[in-house]
Every structure is written in C-alpha cells, then in structure tokens.
Assembly symmetry: C2
Homo-oligomer: 189 residues x 2
C-alpha cells in the first residue's frame, strides 16, 4: 500500500473544498477521507478530529479572505476602497460558501491563536478602509463594529441564499455600498 503523502495542510484544503461543495453542515470526516482516497481513521494522523478540522478550515478561510480584501483595497481609498472590499468579500463568499460558513460562530482563543490572528488581519483591512473617512478617533471602534456587522450579515445572507437577490443582485449590492458610504460620512464626531 503506497503512502498517500498527506499532511495537515492538504487535508484541510481538501476539507474546505468539500465544504464548499456539499455545505459546511454536511461536512464529515468520511467525505474528506473518501475524497483523499484514504480511510477515515487515517485523517486523525493529521488533524485532531472534526472540531479541529473545522477550526482549521476557518483559519484557512480567514487567511484567504484577508488576502483577498488586502489586495482589493490596495491603492484605493474612500468609497472606492469600501466598494472594493465589499466586492472582495462577496466574491469570496459566493465562491467559497462552505469555508466562510466555517468561520461564523467559531469561538476565539487567545491572541496567539491562529484563528484570531487571521481574523485580525481582516479587521485590519477594514480599519484601513475606515481611515479613508473622516471619523473621530473615539468612534473608530464603533464604526469598525458597525461595518463588520453590515459586511458579515451581507456575506452570511449570501452564503445562506437568505434572500433571492438572484435578479437585481448587482443593483442591491451597489445600493448597500452607497448606504455604507453615506453612513460613514459626517459622523458628527
């Protein structure tokens, strides 16, 4: 029996792909093992069970999302950066609904936890976008949380297909960006 040549990274990558295809809720160790041409218990040599696998998928997703957002806002500012960021998130979630779903509701660890580190990168990019607006320093955290709520909710509804914006999705998306832009201006601070 030849070795399959697996490691933690390849298992997680495969699991993320499976999650995107069948939905995060349907992800199972057996499905991943089958995809890798391996028996289920073999996975335990690389990841520490399903909970650990889920968390690693979340870390992968947040890192990928962080990269995508960083790249998207590079060289832009203001509403331009805001729109680019929103679009990057939207594209990511539409393309990878399973791995995005893995990130929601995942409890955080300490600051050194890879999950928190990856999450912090995304937040950092959001903060960078906010710097393009005239927001009082003491309001930055509030604005950050608000923007996070908007974009996260938007992403979650997209992932869950929560509403049928099949038809005029693009228009609604543009409206959302404009809404956020208005909301971030003249903050009264």
């Amino acid at each position: 029996m030849p070795r399959a040549g697996l490691d933690a990274a390849s298992v997680v990558a495969c699991a993320a792909a499976v999650a995107d295809e069948v939905g995060f809720a349907e992800l199972s160790m057996g499905l991943v093992a089958e995809r890798l041409g391996v028996r289920t218990p073999s996975l335990y040599k690389h990841v520490d069970g399903l909970a650990d696998l889920n968390r690693r998928i979340a870390v992968l997703a947040l890192n990928e999302l962080g990269d995508a957002v960083r790249d998207a806002i590079g060289g832009r500012s203001g509403s331009d950066a805001l729109g680019a960021m929103a679009r990057a998130i939207r594209d990511f979630v539409v393309k990878h609904p399973g791995r995005y779903a893995a990130t929601v509701g995942m409890p955080g660890g300490d600051q050194a936890d890879p999950l928190d580190v990856a999450g912090a990168r995304v937040i950092t990019s959001m903060a960078a976008v906010l710097h393009g607006y005239d927001i009082a320093p003491q309001d930055l955290n509030h604005a950050l949380r608000t923007l996070r709520s908007l974009l996260h909710g938007f992403a979650t509804l997209q992932a869950a297909n929560g509403f049928q914006w099949d038809d005029d999705a693009e228009e609604s998306f543009a409206w959302l960006v404009a809404f956020a832009d208005r909301g971030l201006r003249r903050t009264g601070g």
Copy 2:
C-alpha cells in the same frame, strides 16, 4: 406510568429553552427529552426528528422576533422606529441566542411554509420602518436587503459573541443606529 401531556408546541418550547442555555449547536434530542422527563424516542411522537425540531424552533423564534419588532416600532417612525427595531432585535438575540441561531442558514420552503411566513412578518416590519424614510420606490427592495444585512449581521455577531463589545456595547449600538439612519437618508433616488 402517567402521561407527560406533551404536544408539539411544548416540545418545541422546551427545545428552544435548551438551545438558549446550551447553545444551538449542542442541542440534542436526548437533552430535550431529559428536560421533559421523558425518554428520547417519545419525542418522535410529536416532532419528526431533529431536523424538524430545529426548523420548528426557527419558526418559533421568527414569530417571537416578529412580535417583538412589531411591538417595538408601534407608534414610532423614522430614526426613532429604526432604533427601537434594532434594540428589539438585539434584546431578543441576547436573551435567546440559541433560538436565533436556529434561524440562520435555515433553507426556506415555499410561500406557505410557516418558516417563510414567520420570516415575512419580520421583513414586513422592516419595510414599515423604511416607510419612515424618503426612499425612492424602486430602491425599497435594495434598502430592505441592506437593512436586513446590517441587522442580521449585528445580531449574528452578538449571538456568537463575535467581538468583545462587552465594555462600550451601548455606545457602539447607538453608533450603528445612527449609521443606518444616515445611510437611509438622501438616497439620491
């Protein structure tokens, strides 16, 4: 052995309470049965398995949320209504994180599906709040989706304790409402 006198409604109510206490992800048939002083298989006389139970919890939650929001915005309009609605949602989610979690990612059925009916009631209240703003008719749907994204994301992050707004939560909340209010004004329609 005396009858326990259960019916679908009491089972769902109990399950919702359990979900609020232990978290939606930890909800199990066994936990609900134990709480009701009954053996697990007995529950199948009232609900059609765990998936059905989950869906019923979601229906219950959306109905309760719909009531809460309707009551909150009664007699108010504009930013006043907006703030009341946001607060109603927030209070509900903080008080009932488990049943709110049951609603996210629950696939919809047809229009007669109780879940869709309950969801539509919440949406109707949101639409009512929007009527207090000067939004062009063709933008109403976009505004609705946007507002839904913001409030849903906000609720989800609260339920998941996604960020530590333990400290100045109230201030951030007020900022979010003000942000939405600004975003809904002068829509350029």
